[in-house]
Symmetry: C2
Subunit: 391 residues, 2 copies
């Protein structure tokens, strides 16, 4: 597999009260087109990753909606898989190019979440869970809290171990002007976040505290994919692996909840396609919707040999920009601190890794980054998408 | 393009009060697997066409939902494009096979609409329209009524001309045991429907009357696609064209409303891919959500030379089973009389045409059917999907 990433762009993520999904998508798409030096008329197909437009906005038919907004009549399809909607949309774009039917595919990820009451958003997000979980009154912090407790019992990790993930990712976000918690005016000065800040924040769902949780964000991201042979840019980044796996929606139906098996299988699939291994990865965007989720991902993606080891490594500053260990995880700030506009996340991950592999990531640039990975999860692990990229 | 349709099946369409979407999907998938003589474990990817599960059932993440229900962990993705969700899911399945990444793809279309209050369903369906149309209080019968009035003015067609479409399609449905209006116990004896029945039915949105409108239905359909070379069945039907086009969501933003330009462009795309023309088609399933929609489709797909001619042809019994004209349109009964469980429709069209081209359509078999077409529309024409099949 060798799909050229021709252009990428993201809007700022955050609580963007003064804008609309239409405006966000236009900004991201115009940025990606300019980056790719491709005209809108040259786009053969569009995939839109989005979860909540129907439940929160009464708007479906979102493929046609954004094709119209952009002013073209190309094939356009909405792809939905909860918080993995963006990653799944990228996967469909990859298939579109591989099929030979489309030469250039525009992948859009978008979510506008702050226009709605938080309790409505929390309820709509449970659309990613099972009937039983909804009836039991579970929310996503609750589901990941169950996983966190199981991990704490099985691997003797602590709340402080989890807090260290938040500290790392908020530090990265402080270097990212597009991040929800970029450290700019009006937001918590993310660069100064400490373990104590996280430990002193209020519980949302024991053992997860406010600062263990990713925020409710608005944002959009766009990626333009094409055939490898058709790119003229010397430093073009290519997608060399794209794999999807599923698992049960309900946590209770799984053989274990201290690992996300869909992640394990999606990663194995992508590594095999690309003839790469976890040790080859220089930079990764992992699905850290909660701090515990990143610890699980470090193991499931093959980056750490066991969760206790993963926690020790994070605590010692590994996976952080400018650490001695080569692999940087979530240089954007991740879902945790760059923000998590659900459908946009999986597309933004491709944007971030592409910028990293091009050496265009500015203050948050990972050193010597040539091979990258993105990891996007839907629900509490019912679907996982892993992409591998190289420059 | 040469994609083998390895297996097909559909549930009965109708007001299926005593069953659930899970049961419907299992039935359709088990039927398609048996038809294909393929084991569930051999499925590499699933696409689920569905529009309303989020808005009406609070359930998203539907790809993983049905993978779990079937008991497999393959890649699985929900595809949404309003009433074209099923056709778009088939298109993604085609791309999946063409990409070389998947050897066998299961495409599921499903909708359970009768479990909800009709006014909620009507409101949710307007998720396929524009903000402006929703604010104006328009419903889908209203949108198609605007198109019908425009067609009546421009082409001098009459309400009686539209009624003839209903008579044809209810006659076909009377021969189809899977149809919503199959003529069986408890449903209007469809075989006996006359122009007078349609004309005497109450107006829903002038000039469209109750019997000009497709029903609110439940149902599921499933199709298994694979590489052409891998099929062992002698009479295997192949998809030889698959094309998608979009237009504005809002009728008011189009240059005209007496033709659906997305249909015209999708058909041109598919004909070009398959090196076929409208005159080659022996049997077609067209998107007749309202009777006027079939008259528009007959022209837009190239079957009739103008709408007045189309109306005359239908009135003279053309496009009907066993007529002297070779082309049969909507042998299943179409959306109008076979029923319209939104996400299932585009998949069921592939099931019907495959059975026709295999010569397995029983009482509703079109004579000498070798080349077939399916036509699936989302919203009032914001997206259209055309597939071409041959035996």
């Amino acid at each position: 597999m060798n799909i050229a990433v021709l252009g990428v762009a993201t809007t700022k993520f955050g609580e963007l009260w003064d804008t609309s999904p239409r405006v966000l998508v236009r900004e991201a798409v115009n940025g990606a087109l300019a980056d790719a030096q491709v005209a809108l008329e040259d786009i053969d197909a569009i995939y839109v990753g989005n979860m909540l437009s129907g439940m929160l906005g009464n708007q479906e038919n979102l493929g046609a909606f954004y094709a119209e907004e952009l002013g073209i009549t190309a094939a356009s399809t909405k792809v939905e898989g909860a918080c993995a909607s963006g990653g799944l949309a990228v996967h469909q774009g990859v298939l579109g190019i591989l099929s030979g039917l489309y030469r250039r595919v525009l992948v859009i990820g978008v979510e506008k979440m702050t226009d709605h009451k938080p309790e409505h958003v929390a309820s709509a997000l449970m659309g990613a869970g099972s009937d039983g979980e909804r009836i039991a009154g579970l929310t996503f912090p609750g589901l990941y809290a169950l996983m966190a407790h199981a991990c704490m019992q099985k691997y003797a990790i602590t709340e402080s171990d989890m807090a260290a993930v938040a500290v790392k990712n908020h530090y990265h976000a402080s270097l990212n002007t597009y991040a929800h918690f970029s450290g700019g005016a009006g937001s918590r000065s993310a660069g100064q976040m400490t373990i104590e800040h996280v430990m002193q924040s209020p519980y949302v769902a024991d053992p997860l505290k406010l600062l263990d949780c990713s925020p409710i964000s608005d944002g959009a991201a766009a990626v333009i994919l094409g055939e490898a042979a058709k790119t003229t840019r010397k430093s073009t980044v290519h997608i060399v692996g794209s794999s999807v796996a599923t698992d049960t929606l309900d946590l209770a139906d799984r053989s274990g909840i201290t690992s996300i098996s869909a992640t394990v299988r999606a990663a194995q699939g992508a590594y095999k396609q690309a003839k790469l291994a976890a040790r080859d990865i220089d930079v990764a965007e992992a699905h850290d919707c909660f701090t515990i989720a990143e610890l699980m991902a470090l193991v499931d993606l093959g980056f750490s040999d066991g969760m206790k080891k993963a926690a020790q490594q994070v605590g010692q500053g590994a996976f952080t920009l400018n650490s001695s260990k080569k692999l940087v995880v979530n240089p954007s700030g991740g879902l945790k601190a760059c923000g998590h506009p659900v459908g946009a996340t999986g597309v933004k991950q491709i944007v971030e890794i592409t910028q990293q592999l091009r050496g265009e990531a500015g203050k948050r640039q990972a050193a010597n980054a040539h091979i990258g990975l993105t990891h996007n999860v839907g629900g509490s692990g019912a679907v996982a998408v892993v992409h591998l990229l190289r420059s």
